[in-house]
């Protein structure tokens, strides 16, 4: 078993004429927390989505846990079950209750029986701190609560990797903390996490590594301490000065 649970080799992604990613390579070690930052349109989300193949790279190889993705549906479904994803807009299933949101994929993908799926779902809701909302429907919850349910839904699959695509960008300011707290808890527990975010405070506190992207390229990759105190590239400096001013 390789130590690198995620390995992206020379990934490029074009949307028509536009090159969203240009020859990006990335390895993520088991149990590490990697935060990707960068201006909008820099390809951070595209890179994240290449990991679980919500975007198919135009060129390059994706290796997950020592297995090369070959594009077959069967392999893809199996691997995706092991990769939890949290979206900017939560994407909870609005026609299902909170509990059903969390049990559905457990039952039909993991083939767990109803009782087991339910027990795991309740554990996860407990963990994100909203067990009392199990029977509510998504639109009865606040944004922060919905995002915590989305995290619980991903965790219930007991994934090897968690991907977060700007998980707090659609939230009102007072709800950001409750989501970040859950993510900090996961980081402390040793989950492998790849996070696209604009929350620099979180990056500083939780990340093992920070990656700065711009124009579809990986500009810099280092520890949060070094990146924030002494960025080595001009573009990184410019971006940080713009973001930290706020």
């Amino acid at each position: 078993m390789s130590d690198n649970i995620i390995e992206l080799r020379h990934i490029s992604k074009n949307f028509g004429e536009i090159g969203a990613l240009r020859d990006v390579s990335l390895t993520v070690k088991r149990g590490s927390v990697v935060v990707i930052i960068g201006p909008s349109g820099s390809g951070k989300s595209t890179l994240l989505r290449c990991i679980n193949q919500l975007e198919t790279p135009t060129a390059g190889e994706v290796w997950i846990d020592g297995e090369k993705l070959d594009g077959s549906d069967e392999q893809l479904n199996k691997i995706r079950a092991d990769i939890g994803m949290v979206f900017q807009h939560f994407n909870l299933y609005p026609h299902l209750s909170v509990l059903e949101n969390i049990t559905l994929a457990q039952k039909i993908v993991r083939k767990r029986d109803k009782k087991e799926a339910r027990a795991i779902a309740m554990d996860m809701l407990e963990k994100v701190g909203i067990a009392e909302k199990a029977d509510s429907y998504p639109n009865q919850l606040s944004g922060g609560q919905q995002q915590r349910v989305a995290i619980a839904r991903a965790l219930a699959m007991q994934p090897k990797i968690m991907l977060f695509d700007e998980p707090t960008s659609a939230l009102d300011p007072e709800m950001i903390k409750e989501v970040l707290d859950v993510m900090l808890l996961l980081a402390e527990e040793g989950s492998t996490m790849v996070i696209v975010t604009h929350e620099m405070g979180f990056a500083r506190a939780a990340a093992d590594e920070v990656i700065f992207m711009d124009f579809g390229e990986m500009i810099e990759r280092t520890t949060p301490e070094l990146l924030f105190s002494n960025p080595s590239h001009e573009r990184t400096k410019l971006f940080l000065s713009q973001i930290l001013q706020k």
Partner: protein, 299 residues
């Protein structure tokens, strides 16, 4: 006080009315005679008037009672054809959005062919060209299988006669084929109205495309298109009058026959119109109520 009473009465009637109600007007506390559904009052007066005529005039009663005999054919043709059209439409709608080249093109061809032909022409075509051609094909297949030694000389394929397929079934097939194409577009629009994030969330959990469709997309899409399906059901009920040209004994056909031999044209066609109106208006009332209830429970 008077204004409030008028508003209560108005909103009561408005609650019963079917169309063209401005929701903003409902919240007005003042009686607004421009927004009042006068057409509904007129409708009730017409209904009461005709009911009295039917009950008091023997020639009217006779016409009405004769024509109502075709109701079973109209209703069963509409119900059967609609059920088939829903299945056909769902499958075709899924085909239209599929990224498989064959399903996509077959589905699109079907929809475009059917939508470009008048329904009356399509009914003639299905009943008098397509079905006979299929029967001939089946006979040839039966013969070929006999010559190949698979079946006996007299088998169910070769014995099938065009006359074995009643006009009623042909009418139902014609209606289903036509409406299948319309409903395909309804389902396609319904599926495409669900945000892309739903499919992504489902696929990111390891569900297959089919599972995501079945458990996540379709339940939401079908809920969204229920009102449209209801309206298409009403359209089909009305369009079922076209199959009377196949002499299947629906209410339109019975009315035409009765009018032709009794020369009671007014009585026949007014009775016919009343029957259709009663069915369509009560159906659209039911749809309004369901829609309103759904809006209330909107999650």
């Amino acid at each position: 006080m008077a204004a409030i009473q008028a508003e209560q009465q108005r909103s009561f009637i408005a609650g019963e009315s079917l169309e063209d109600l401005n929701p903003a007007a409902l919240s007005l506390k003042k009686f607004d005679w421009r927004e009042f559904p006068w057409w509904f009052v007129a409708l009730i007066i017409i209904a009461i008037g005709t009911l009295m005529v039917i009950l008091t005039s023997p020639s009217f009663t006779k016409a009405f009672n004769t024509i109502i005999g075709g109701l079973r054919v109209t209703i069963s043709a509409t119900l059967t054809a609609f059920a088939i059209a829903v299945v056909l439409g769902l499958v075709t709608g899924l085909g239209r959005i599929s990224n498989k080249v064959v399903s996509k093109n077959v589905a699109t061809l079907y929809v475009e062919l059917v939508r470009g032909v008048p329904m009356l022409v399509l009914i003639f075509f299905v009943a008098l060209v397509m079905v006979p051609a299929l029967v001939t094909g089946s006979n040839k297949l039966g013969l070929a299988l006999f010559e190949a030694g698979v079946l006996a000389e007299s088998n169910f394929l070769s014995n099938l006669s065009i006359r074995d397929i009643p006009m009623f079934s042909r009418a139902v097939i014609a209606l289903s084929v036509t409406y299948g194409a319309f409903l395909a577009e309804v389902f396609r629009a319904g599926i495409q109205s669900i945000s892309k994030g739903q499919m992504e969330a489902a696929r990111s959990q390891g569900m297959s495309y089919g599972q995501a469709m079945r458990y996540i997309i379709l339940p939401q899409a079908i809920r969204n298109v229920l009102p449209a399906l209801g309206n298409d059901f009403i359209s089909m009920l009305k369009d079922s009058s076209l199959v009377s040209i196949l002499a299947v004994g629906d209410i339109s056909q019975v009315a035409r026959l009765y009018a032709a031999h009794s020369f009671r044209f007014g009585e026949s066609y007014i009775s016919l119109a009343i029957l259709y109106l009663t069915m369509t208006l009560s159906l659209s009332l039911i749809i309004k109520i369901i829609e309103r209830r759904m809006a209330k429970n909107e999650r």
